[in-house]
Amino acid sequence: MEIIEYIKLVFSDYTLRTITLGTAVLGAVTGMLGSFAVLRKESLLGDAISHAALPGIAIAFLITGSKDTNILLIGALVSGLIGTLWIRGITSKTHLKSDTALGLILSLFFGFGMLLLTYIQKLPDANQAGLDKYLFGQAATLLESDVWLMTFVTGLCLLVLLLFWKEFKILLFDKDYAHTLGFNTKFIDILITSFIVLAIVLGLQTVGVVLMSAMLLAPAAAARQWTNSLGKMVFLAAVLGGSAGVFGTAISATQNNLSTGPVIVLVASVFVLFSFIFSPKRGLLFKRIRLIKNRNDLELQKTLAFMYHIVEDHEDVSHPHTIRMLNNFQGYSRKGLRKLVDKNYVELEGGMWSLTSEGFKAAENLYNQNTKDE
C-alpha cells in the first residue's frame, strides 16, 4: 500500500480510522502519565503493572466465559491494582527495595497468568482462542467503543491533571515537604498511580502485556531531553506518544505482516534515540560538540595568555618575537597559532610573531576575568 493511498484510507476506511485514532489517543495518555512515572523513578512500575494484569484477564474469562474486551479489561484492572498494592506493601513492610518488589510481582503474576492461559487453551471449548492476543496486543481488534472509552479516560486524566497540577508537581519533587504543607500525599499518590494503572490496562489490547511499559517510558524519556519545564515535558510526551501511535499504525498498515503494537513501540524508541543524540541541551551530539569547542577555545586562550605575558613588559605590544620562544609553552601548536591569526589576534612574519592591538586587548580581558574568578 502506498502512503498516499493509506492517507486516503485513514479517512475512508472505518477499521483503519478506528485503529489510528485508538493508538493515537493511547499514545497520548500513556505519554502524559509516563512522564510522572519516569520523574518518580518508577519506570519499571508500568512493566510490573502490565504483567500483573495478565492473570486478571484469564480469571475474568474463566469466571464469565466471555471474551468481551470490557469484561476482560476489568479483570486486568483488578489484578493490576492488586499487583500495585502488593508492590507498595512489600516496599513499605519489608527491607526489600522497590526494584526487587517490582521484579518479584512482575514474574509472579506473569507466571501465574501464563499458567492460566495454557490451562484455558486446553479447555474443550471452541471459544477460548484469542486470549493470547493480550500478550503482544492486536490493534486490529480495536472497536469504535474501545476508542471512545480511551478518549473518555484521556479526557478525565487531562481534567484531573489540570485540576491537581500543582499538587502533582510538588508530590513529584518533594513529597515530605508537600506533606508539611498539609497536602494529603497519599491521596495524590493513589490518584497518579490509579491513572497509570488505568492507562496501562487500556493499552493491553493494542500493545500487549509485554511491551506496554515502553508506551509509558519512551515518550517521556524522549520528551525530557528537549525541555526543562514539567508542563512542556508532559505536553511533549503526549504529542510524541500520539505520533508514535499514528506513525506506527501507518507503517504496520502499509507493510504486510507487521504487527501494530511492536511497530508503535519501535517508532517510540526511534524518538528516544533521536532525542538522546540530537536534543540541543542534553543531547550527546551537542554535548560532545560543546566539549570539543570549549577545549579548543581554552587551548587558544592559554596560548594567547602566554603571549600576553611575554609582551606585557614591552612598550610596543606589537613588537615581534620568535616563534621558537613558544616551544617552551606546553599547550602551543601550529594549528592553534594559525587560528589566532585567523581571528586577527596575531600576525606572523617569517619566523616571528606579534600580537595585534586587538589580540592584546582580548588577552587582557581574558587575564582580568581569570584572576577575578580566583
Binding site: W165, K166, F173, D174, D176, L181, G182, F183, R224, N228
Partner: protein, 269 residues
C-alpha cells in the same frame, strides 16, 4: 525549674525563666513535644523526648550521627509517625497549626534534575496557603521573587535547578520556606556542603528571622559554630540530654554525655 514553675507551665503553656537579675519573665512556648518516641524497627530512634522550644529563639539541635536529629524534626512535622507522644504548636495540635510552620529539608532529599526552575521551586512555598486546586497568581509570584531576593538568588530565578551549585540550591530551599511566612522554621542541616560565603548569608537570614520574632530550629553539625550562631541548644542522642540557653547548657559535661567521648573542647562562649 522549680515545682511551682512546672505547674505554672502546665497551666498556662508558658515557660518561666529566672534571669540574671532574679526576675522571672514569661515567654510563650512555640513548640511543645511530650513523650515522643519513634522507632523504625525494634530499635528506638527517639526515646521519650520532652522538649519545649520558647518563642523567638534560634536553636541548634546537635548530636552524633544516628542520634535522631532529623527524625525529631520529621516526627514533629508529622512526616514520620511516632509510636507515642504528642506535639503542640502554640498550645494547639500540630495539624491545625501547619500554616505557622515552615520546613527546610536536607538538600539531598530531592532530585535536583527535576524539570523546573528556581522560581518555580520557591513558588511551592505558597502552595500550602493556597490549598487544593487553586493555582498561584501574581501575589504568590511577587512573594517568591521577594524571597529569592532575600537569599541573593534573584538573578537565578529562571535557572534550571540542576544548573545551580550546592550552596545555591540550599538558598533556594531557604527561600521556599521564607515564602511560607511562618512563625516557626525547622531546618535540617542547612549548612551542609555549602561554602563559607553561603554559610554567612544563611546565618544572617536566620538572625534576621529571630529579630522578627520568629522561632528557628536548626539541625546542626559544626559544634565550633554553635555558640556563635545560636542562642539555644538541644543535645540529642536518642534521648534528650539537655536543652537550654548556650550559657546554661553548652558545656563539656553535656558534650561528653551526648557524644560519648570525653569532650574536652573549651569552645569559646
Amino acid at each position: 525549674m522549680t515545682a511551682i514553675q512546672n505547674k505554672h507551665n502546665a497551666v498556662f503553656g508558658v515557660s518561666m525563666q529566672r534571669l540574671n537579675n532574679g526576675k522571672i519573665f514569661m515567654e510563650k512556648i512555640a513548640v511543645k513535644v511530650d513523650d515522643l518516641t519513634v522507632a523504625y524497627d525494634y530499635k528506638p530512634v527517639l526515646w521519650d523526648i520532652d522538649l519545649q522550644i520558647p518563642e523567638g529563639v534560634l536553636m541548634a539541635i546537635v548530636g552524633p550521627n544516628g542520634a535522631g536529629k532529623s527524625t525529631l524534626i520529621k516526627a514533629i512535622l508529622g512526616i514520620l509517625k511516632p509510636i507515642a507522644g504528642s506535639v503542640t504548636i502554640f498550645d494547639k495540635p500540630y495539624k491545625s497549626q501547619r500554616k505557622h510552620v515552615a520546613y527546610v529539608p536536607q538538600k539531598g532529599s530531592v532530585d535536583w534534575d527535576f524539570p523546573t526552575t528556581a522560581l518555580d521551586v520557591v513558588m511551592m512555598g505558597t502552595y500550602g496557603g493556597l490549598g487544593w486546586i487553586k493555582r498561584p497568581g501574581i501575589k504568590e509570584k511577587k512573594g517568591a521573587l521577594e524571597a529569592l531576593e532575600k537569599v541573593g538568588m534573584l538573578s537565578f530565578k529562571s535557572r534550571q535547578i540542576s544548573q545551580l551549585s550546592g550552596g545555591q540550591q540550599q538558598r533556594i530551599f531557604l527561600a521556599r520556606a521564607l515564602v511560607q511566612d511562618a512563625s516557626i522554621y525547622f531546618m535540617d542541616e542547612p549548612f551542609q556542603g555549602v561554602d563559607a560565603t553561603t554559610e554567612v548569608a544563611i546565618i544572617n537570614i536566620l538572625k534576621e528571622l529571630r529579630k522578627a520574632g520568629k522561632t528557628v530550629v536548626v539541625v546542626h553539625h559544626d559544634l565550633q559554630t554553635v555558640p556563635e550562631y545560636f542562642d539555644w541548644v538541644t543535645f540529642l542522642n536518642v534521648k534528650k540530654i539537655a536543652t537550654g540557653t548556650i550559657k546554661d547548657v553548652f558545656n563539656d559535661d553535656n558534650l561528653t554525655k551526648t557524644y560519648g567521648i570525653n569532650y574536652k573542647v573549651s569552645i569559646q562562649k
